[in-house]
Subunit: 290 residues, 4 copies
């Protein structure tokens, strides 16, 4: 047995010609309809999450995102509400009929987070944590595998291979920007990688333009770019008051910005022959307070 | 006087709120219609160029591209037809009513190339050649300024500033991919930089998905992505026989691929409120030989 | 509380002017003598490890390295001997009077690996696993913190801060190359970061030229470069038969190459006012079988 | 003829086993003695240059550097004294018996700069200006070819190939740092590339730790690192008053810092079996005014 890197097999289009579709909470990911995850970077309080969940569900998002445990570069930054955050996610999701996606920062937290989330998010920093991936290969829940900020396409698909070879076929790829020399955006969103991942692999691919650009101004155009590049959905950071957000405020859209994005998202989806769940006008009668 | 980098002034949106529109050969760049440049990486022969020019003009491209002097990494690679290439560009452009854009590789070649081109292309490798930029600031022809493959947004706009401060206000920016660790595409196309350049500057911005991806498969999705990210136009490498191209064959689309791109380009343009000059069906009666 | 990155405090030279010295197994890291870790990339067999441990101890290395659990890009590559590997490391270290360093790939493996290792290695892929770092902050063993291949200096020192703020003051930094566009070496060894880390922080800094270059030819010059850049020691991959190694053979030196490095290492150490534990001639009478 | 990149031939060690030695102004580059270039980033005034030239010659530097035409990112930054700068370089070099090296920013400036410089410097931004390189292949003066900040090893050696194939065999390579994600230093100095260039090519290789790090504190350790990595010499920015320098002050050493570097440079040269021309104590009786 040699050291050479074996290419991915189970993750490839050669292995499986048809695109994988993953059904979760009544939504099909990788199918005819865009999959839209929206919510705050971090769960901050009951009021914050309720306000945001009400808003995003009212406009058609299918899943609620929100970090309960947050990976932060500095130990002095806000680390998340942890267990209380998980409880709040569950409460908001039940109230508004949303699915939940949240990050499992470490294998040791899997048991704790598991009952509260419908999709397990593997963060960019964990994409190369192969022991963790092996364990997630045994789990019977979909895994959203963010691309490492220093990961090549091959490394990303080999990380997916770890999950697939372990038996978990519910793998969703998510491009969230890579690290380059350019400092004008937080990361450099690699839109071509979305098209290429769809070509090389049968797995659904989402885009996270919030992490990918770090700038609320750029989320609308990059969301549209991702869709025409063949993304199956989007993960968007939304906050009722980005200026006061405890983390990543600059890359969160506010409610007006989110609504402003919807026509462009829906129009690009239509070009790609996909339906969009989003509606510019609130589905509910009662006027939301924003 | 200190060493600090002064930010761009004349290139900024603060300086000039309205987008710059540049009229050349009856086409307005930066206006209501997409600007489409198409043609081979390099001019190779009269027959090659005539065939390609006939095709691209027939489908609505306004400008013909083609390298006469080619910057090549190896001295042993094809270096371009040089003067003969310029003559062939002129001949094809007159025959098919196309404008011409070709690269001036060095200031010493400016006088020679000048009469043959409607837009002067500054290649990625020359974006930081400040002496060259100063001289082009005195020229009365539009300049297409490709982003350096190692250039930050600020460096790119400061390069434009060299042209503007010299008196040449006809500057067109062109994103063509940056160099990163990822080797799955030739360059990493920085789609966010298109949106950001349009936000920070009043100058028109084009996208070159051929250089940006290096892969003919990815030119269609990345063209569409560039348009929804607010690009004013595209520069696309087209070849009648990419497999036999003397340079950059893998990143050239063939005629069928070019035609296949047009509906998506036109649909995305429409979303952005722009007209497209491209037509999927040939404008001419006579059947072109392809 | 805002999102801004707080700079490191406890890791800084401002906080602690004198360099931190860490004593483990009778060796002082960060002191007057170079600290030399040597051994195979992965533990492969009892015979392999015994041969290598005999050789490196005979030439003065103080610590034996060897992966029992290996992070591998592909699930189809050799993953390490795991528990058996740990046992073999212990056996060889006792036989040859060497300390042991091995990687803990995941927090869930900490209890298993803990009794077998004198220094806990945090791999490059785990440098940003903050939950893991928090737990290691509570441990009473030295931690070698490899720089992430995409980590800035600030991120690296903030990762150290996670350990320090948790109460573990025995932190050793290790530069092992960063990921850049250049493909002529496996990683780009950032020698300046060694000098800079020693300037900004009081923590000991090691260099890993094997990972840093990926090429056995370059380990000698880069080891010497690291020492004159102020490194406190080296971590070197040594194999009795690199051509047959189960992982990373190309970046392992063989015994002749290791011996050939010693005079240069010793001479550069002397320039820096440091002692070196290495001896070109074997300390033992019995001729080793190589 | 295809598009494939031909590897370098004339630049390779396969072509020429022995290291190339270049004699200029009585100094042999690539031989038994280190080649030391020192001087300001830019020529600023007669007094400035005279003071610096006196100092560096007194300590053994063989060549004086100084930009007359400066490539600056912003058009509003100091652009160099131009012709007057060239005259001052000549004057100082004659007075102090130093050779001169200065950058030719553009082919159109070659005739003007040619009589004033003993070595023609091709800056990082021009390494891929193949038309320029072709013309320099016809020139009968040594060319110092800086590595492009985005150039791979192969591209760097192919740029040298352009000079060699044109007939100019007097090519000196110079590593000056590459552009990466890390912002803690101005560039990332690729020390391994020095060893590797010496292995792959017969050409002399210098190091420019001033550009390579951007920080005067790091020039001493990186100079020493470059020497043990097999560099044939150094190019160091020295200024009599860095705080007042018109360009790149932060990366210039002052006179005390330069003197402080000399013992380490000499000691590392000795390890590598090379002589050093530098002397910590001034060679001249008269006390220099610093």
């Amino acid at each position: 047995m040699s050291d050479q890197v074996n290419p991915y097999r189970l993750a490839s289009r050669q292995w499986k010609k048809e695109g994988t579709r993953i059904s979760v909470k009544g939504v099909e990911i990788g199918g005819d309809e865009l999959f839209i995850i929206a919510g705050p970077c971090a769960v901050e309080s009951e009021e914050q999450l309720d306000t945001i969940a009400a808003f995003v569900s009212s406009h058609g998002a299918q899943f609620l995102r929100g970090g309960a445990y947050k990976p932060r570069t500095s130990p002095y930054s806000f680390q998340g509400l942890q267990k209380e955050g998980l409880r709040l996610l569950q409460q908001a999701s039940l109230k508004y009929g949303l699915g939940v996606i949240t990050e499992v920062m470490d294998l040791s937290l899997l048991d704790e987070v598991y009952p509260y989330t419908d999709i397990i998010q593997v963060g960019s920093r964990n994409m190369k944590n192969y022991h963790f991936l092996k364990e997630l290969g045994k789990v019977n829940k979909p895994v959203l595998l963010k691309r490492g900020m220093d990961a090549t396409m091959e490394e990303w698909l080999l990380a997916a291979e770890y999950l697939l070879v372990g038996g978990n076929e519910q793998v969703i790829l998510c491009e969230r920007g890579i690290r380059t020399f350019d400092d004008s955006t937080r990361n450099t969103m690699d839109i071509a990688s979305i098209s290429l991942a769809k070509e090389l692999s049968h797995l659904p691919v989402l885009a996270d333009p919030s992490q990918g650009t770090g700038s609320s101004d750029l989320i609308k155009p990059l969301s549209m770019a991702a869709i025409v590049a063949n993304a199956d959905g989007l993960m968007i950071e939304v906050h009722n008051n980005p200026a006061e957000a405890l983390s990543d405020g600059p890359q969160s859209v506010n409610f007006a910005q989110f609504k402003d994005m919807i026509p462009g998202i829906n129009a690009t989806a239509k070009i790609m022959g996909k339906k969009s769940p989003l509606t510019p006008e609130s589905k509910k009668e009662k006027v939301l307070n924003y």
